[in-house]
């Protein structure tokens, strides 16, 4: 059992150890979907939602696996849970709100291969979070992911107008910017430790 307070779990997951900028989880959507501010926000919201559902289910399944004495099936079970959660969320959103479904579009199915989700499930198991801590951890990780994505999208929209040398266009300059962003997030170190 981990006795970290809910507040420190949240601050830790969203700012101090930001999933994208400190753990390098979810780099693919971070580099791929951060071109426009509007899509970045929606992607962040979708990921946060899937994280919350996946965290709850992963917690339940982990209890079941421990009870059955087959912890080596954890990885396989988690990936199946995440894939089915994404599928389920897709159907649910389609049923409840056509407008939201159209807005999220291709991003929903892509979340399955987002390593931030699997990383979240594995971290919460390794750190032995209880159910409330797991859910807050998911919320914090989602908020941190959205924050990084939105910041990056804002910078990249400005970058479109800047004159960047030809060699550095595309991935190279994006990575450099991400590096600076990551450095600035280190300023949060020590926050929420108490």
């Amino acid at each position: 059992m981990n006795d970290a307070s809910l507040w420190s779990v949240f601050i830790n997951a969203s700012l101090v150890n930001n999933f994208v900028l400190a753990y390098f989880l979810g780099i693919c959507p971070f580099l791929g979907v951060s071109g426009k501010l509007a899509t970045a926000t929606r992607m962040g919201a979708a990921v946060t939602f899937v994280m919350l559902v996946a965290a709850g289910s992963a917690y339940a399944v982990n209890l079941l696996l421990e009870w059955a004495g087959v912890p080596y099936l954890r990885l396989i079970c988690y990936i199946v849970i995440i894939a089915s959660t994404v599928q389920f969320v897709e159907m649910l959103v389609k049923k409840l709100s056509r407008a939201l479904f159209r807005a999220l579009g291709i991003f929903l199915p892509l979340i399955t291969t987002n390593c931030a989700i699997l990383g979240l499930a594995l971290f919460q198991t390794n750190r032995e979070y209880d159910l409330a801590q797991s859910l807050v951890f998911a919320l914090g990780a989602g908020a941190g992911f959205t924050l990084a994505l939105v910041l990056m999208a804002g910078i990249r929209e400005k970058l479109e107008l800047a004159s960047v040398p030809d060699v550095a266009r595309g991935a190279a300059i994006t990575l450099m910017v991400a590096g600076i962003l990551s450095l600035s997030f280190m300023g949060f170190a020590g926050l929420g430790a108490g």
């Binding site: 753990y23 390098f24 989880l25 894939a83 699997l118 971290f123 060699v167 300059i173 590096g179």
Partner: protein, 213 residues
């Protein structure tokens, strides 16, 4: 370039992953482990070898089963195959070196969601015979290992003045601590991509007059 194309397809399957279609530097696949575990050369190398191992095995099995897997559930099947091999690698590393297992942490399990492996299963192994799929997996895996080793070596050299744990730079060298921190991963990969873009631009510029002549 021209010489490579004249080679037998078998050699090409192996060689294309090393440089021309290098998964990291050219295709930008599997970025998460590339940035996360390359704070030292040994970590980068072991992560590369673990990925290589999973890639070759999953390519083999996917290629063997390619006629038996129904099209509709192929992605789910690929992921299950990959997850099984990753579990094997996870326990293998734990048995060989507990220290290494600790420093790579959750990133061994996260090989499952490395888009490189799923990408090769979908784009190559499910469409070609076993021998070509193995060669492809070997080539891509070696290319990936090479990229991780480059990243790890640069970051370890500049960040702590050592290489594989052996001090190589003189004591007067002030280590750039930032290189072993998360930000350094982004900077190193960005700088390596700059270098590669520059080399390709120069090659393209020097190739044009030759073709005209």
């Amino acid at each position: 370039m021209a010489i490579e194309q004249r080679d037998a397809p078998a050699a090409d399957d192996l060689l294309k992953g090393l440089w021309r279609e290098n998964p990291v530097f050219v295709q930008l696949l599997g970025m998460c482990p590339v940035l996360a575990v390359t704070n030292s050369a040994i970590n980068g190398l072991s992560m590369g070898i673990a990925t290589l191992f999973v890639l070759v095995l999953s390519n083999t099995l996917v290629s063997l089963l390619r006629r038996a897997i129904p099209r509709e559930v192929r992605i789910a099947t690929f992921i299950l195959i990959i997850a099984s091999f990753v579990t094997v690698v996870d326990y293998l590393i734990q048995a060989v070196s507990l220290e290494l297992h600790k420093s790579l942490g959750a990133f061994i399990s996260l090989i499952v969601v490395n888009c490189l492996i799923l990408g090769r299963a979908e784009a190559f192994a499910s469409r070609h015979g076993v021998s070509r799929a193995v060669l492809d997996g070997l080539g891509m895996g070696l290319g990936f290992t090479f990229a991780l080793l480059c990243m790890g070596a640069v970051r370890e050299l500049l960040g702590s003045g050592t290489l594989f744990g052996v001090a190589v730079l003189p004591d007067a060298f002030q280590p750039w601590v930032v290189m072993v921190l998360p930000g350094g991963g982004f900077f190193t990969l960005g700088a390596l991509l700059l270098l590669i873009n520059h080399m390709q631009a120069r090659r393209a510029a020097s190739a044009i007059p030759v073709e005209q002549a």
